[in-house]
Amino acid sequence: MSAVISNNEDVARILSNQWISNGEILHMAFTLRDKETYISVNRPAIPSYNSDVKGFVTSHPDFYADQRHDKYIRAMLNVGEIRAMRIDYAGITLNVNVEVEPRDIFTKSHAGIFTRHQNKNIKNGDTLYIKSLDTDVSADEILLEVRSNLVDISTLESCNL
């Protein structure tokens, strides 16, 4: 069983230069790929974080922050703030939870930000049935709101590799 990540911990979303504009993080930094059920992040609190990130950035040139290839950019998010997200629809708070869990099968510092409805992971193309409203809501709209919220609680940082 994976360990629970504390609310006090911060996680890092490593950013492509294409996701920064005017010094701001663009919402596309938090897109779920097709069939993907979580947004990949890394945990600076884990000892392998620096080597994990270096391994990723060196194989993806768009993630170098500068020409000297000695920096990268990340969005830092607090786990507690992520978990505190509430998604409303038509005045009703949906049972949508945003959760952060370790996914250390890839690298030890790897984790995922999940969006769930009634304990089921939401991905692009899904439809959520809202019983109290007797209506369907596209998961794509929910995920757009999650992206917007993640941008709001992110802090942009430049780091040395």
Partner: protein
């Protein structure tokens, strides 16, 4: 050289473009309109910046963001260009443009909590202003409807 088909990897010269234009029957009025529009697109700052960004995004290769990320689809690039073609400089002052990993393009407002996502046939958006929320997904794309949405949000 004929400027037809996919010229993604081809950089036509002034001569190429002029010879192409002269190879097709174009009225004086159309030539004047084209000339005026091209001047506008390169001299008006927000419009010129938007075009330059789209050109940059069209160069992204497979796996540009790792994990099987896709280059921007040609249909999406055509869609945003169709929007650019009917828009004014002030329409782009508000918006930042960037690529998305699913072959789509994203826009984000500089001044509001607003974002848009443009696909090959549909688009979606999310806006939060003064605590009020407005969102839609799977909206059928037309350049006019997309531009109208951009203007409403801005």
């Amino acid at each position: 050289m004929a400027l037809t088909g996919n010229i993604a990897n081809y950089s036509p010269t002034y001569y190429d473009v002029m010879m192409y234009l002269h190879s097709i029957p174009i009225s004086k009025e159309v030539k004047e309109n084209v000339g005026r529009r091209l001047v506008k697109e390169v001299t008006e700052p927000a419009l010129a910046k938007a075009y330059a960004k789209i050109d940059e995004l069209s160069q992204l290769k497979e796996n540009w963001a790792g994990d099987g990320s896709l280059p921007i689809s040609q249909n999406v690039l055509n869609n945003i260009k169709r929007v650019l073609l009917i828009s004014d400089d002030k329409d782009w002052n508000e918006w930042m443009i960037g690529p998305d990993v699913n072959a789509t393009i994203g826009l984000q407002s500089k001044t509001h909590r607003a974002l848009m996502s443009l696909g090959a046939k549909e688009f979606s958006y999310f806006v939060r202003i003064d605590g009020e929320k407005m969102a839609a997904s799977h909206v059928d794309f037309s350049p006019e409807v997309f531009l109208e949405t951009m203007r409403k949000i801005a």
